[in-house]
Amino acid sequence: MSSELPFEKPLTELRKKIDELKHFGEEKEIDFTDEIGRLEERFKQLEVEIYDNMSAPQIMNMARHHQRPTSLEYINLIFSDFIELHGDRVFADDLAIVGGLAKLNGIPVTVVGHQRGKDTKDNIQRFFGSPHPEGFRKALRFMKQANKFGRPIITFIDTKGAYPGNTAEERNQSEAIARNLMEMANFGVPIICVVIGEGGSGGALALGVGNRVLMLENAIYSAISPNGAASILWKDASKADEAAEAMKITAKDLLEFGIIEDIISEPQGGAHRDKAMQADGIKEALWRHLQQLLEMTPDQLREDRYQKFRKVGRFGTAELE
């Protein structure tokens, strides 16, 4: 499958042209060095033009790119000694959530994330990264354990949302999400959340009540997926692009609204172009924020987290009648 997104087409075409010219030159033994140099220059310009001016729908497509690195890939690149843990101890091991113990620069941490599949088969097992209640309860179990042993918690957010299914409802999807929100608010350990791909709705927030919430440059975060919003608002799911613009879902927007603390930049063309480099960027940001949080007492961490979410919201006062 091609990794090219529609808006990247001019780049692919220009690259093809350059390669053809090179090939032609070699074959006919003609020196095209100057021409190729000029085209390479043009290619660089075009890259900047395209990637520096991405629209919200383009960013959305990048966030959902099928080659975009997943939680497990980052966990293996960022941490050492990862020990994966399983199950909610009650019902099942929801594979849409992964997590366990690991070390970040030598410090033991608990890491939890949504996990999309690598391919169709994997995706079916992992419910496309959309957890059932047992997934959220699995995550909560890991986080409670972290709290007990005084380990910082790091979460990776990457989901379209909680799984919309009848069995999920029967096992109380609402309660599972709500419980995580309340419990996370009360932990006395540092919590850092990173939105690495798509942060969709309550299913994302259920891993998102952190002292710091960071976003990758091309990640998105919203109350409902733009597709869902379009079908509810305009009865037309194909208007997802319009909804993506209107809903202010990009990292830049969220930084402006004070919802996130930091944007982690991506390699030119997206995280999937250089996974190792991206992992380094995330690691650097995690370490920087963690060092600040490690200075704080459990009560300070709770208060810091409370105030972070307490201040969110915009409202006014009606004119007195």
Partner: protein, 288 residues
């Protein structure tokens, strides 16, 4: 910090005409469930429950308050808080105006203090007739302030929920209200506060998946639809038709999600009993 938050609080006694306000529905009413036609006056007298099939009609916040609080008296807080349009979302401002005009409300929740069976409480009542009870910044802030007030005054907290979910027009700000209200409840819990949550028809999405599901006691009105994802979305996902009773209070009761399904005429009595049993909160009684 709490003090700052409540500095602007203004109490006002709600005029009785307002609590008893009638919805201009005409003389007769048709039950959407069984089709029975009944006099509006009779229906009102019956607490808006169909005399034939027991269907609980939806109530707006003021009707609920009139039925629940002693003498229908509410000392309202934050009564002038209104939504802004932080995202500059196309059509949001005009939709807000239209919702205000249609419902007579300023947003989808009314909060304040009152008494139930003589017990003072902090109460929040949501109204589906304003923007489908969706939770934006105003609902989140008013509910949070109500929780903080109950924490500060050490009063029991009663929340009647009904909501279509997050208010999409405020997207991420709306989503974060779930965390804000839940965090406030975490503090309220730490202090040993009593919180009774009542699901009314319908309660879905972000409200169901935050404060409404975190009660010490969770009650629901008969037939109330309660869940996270809506029926249509689920049917599209699983490509199957769901049973008629899916996500009803009775269905959820069977799946262990509720303490009790409570008929409207019994609600106040049960709330009073629960409040009474927690009145001596925190002082263990010697058993002789």
């Amino acid at each position: 910090m709490f003090k700052d938050l409540f500095q602007k609080k203004k109490y006002a006694v709600v005029p009785s005409e307002r609590t008893k306000r009638e919805i201009p529905e005409g003389l007769m009413n048709r039950c959407p469930k069984c089709g029975q036609i009944q006099f509006s006056k009779e229906l009102e007298k019956n607490l808006k429950v169909c005399s034939s099939c027991g269907h609980h009609f939806r109530l707006n916040a003021w009707e609920r308050i009139a039925m629940t609080l002693d003498e229908g008296r509410l000392f309202e807080i934050d009564e002038n808080m209104i939504a802004e349009d932080p995202l500059k979302f196309p059509g949001y401002e005009s939709k807000l105006e239209q919702q205000k005009a249609n419902s007579g409300l300023k947003d989808a929740v009314i909060t304040g203090e009152g008494e139930i069976g003589g017990f003072p409480v902090v109460i929040g009542v949501m109204s589906f007739d304003f923007f489908s009870g969706s939770m934006g910044s105003v609902v989140g802030e008013k509910v949070t302030r109500a929780i903080e007030l109950a924490t500060e005054k050490q009063l029991p907290l009663i929340l009647f929920s009904t909501s279509g979910g997050a208010r999409m027009q405020e997207s991420i700000l709306s989503l974060m209200q779930m965390a804000k209200t839940s965090a406030a409840l975490a503090r309220f819990n730490e202090q040993g506060g009593l919180y009774i949550s009542i699901f009314t028809d319908p309660t879905l999405g972000g409200v169901s998946a935050s404060f409404a599901s975190l009660g010490d006691f969770i009650l629901a009105e008969p037939g109330a639809i309660v869940g996270f994802a809506g029926r249509i979305v689920i049917e599209q996902t699983i490509r199957q038709k769901l049973p008629d009773n899916f996500q009803t209070a009775e269905f959820n009761m069977k799946h262990g999600q509720l303490d009790k399904v409570v008929h409207r005429k019994d609600m106040k009595t049960l709330l009073t009993k629960l409040l009474d049993m927690h009145a001596g909160k925190g002082e263990p009684v010697d058993v002789q």
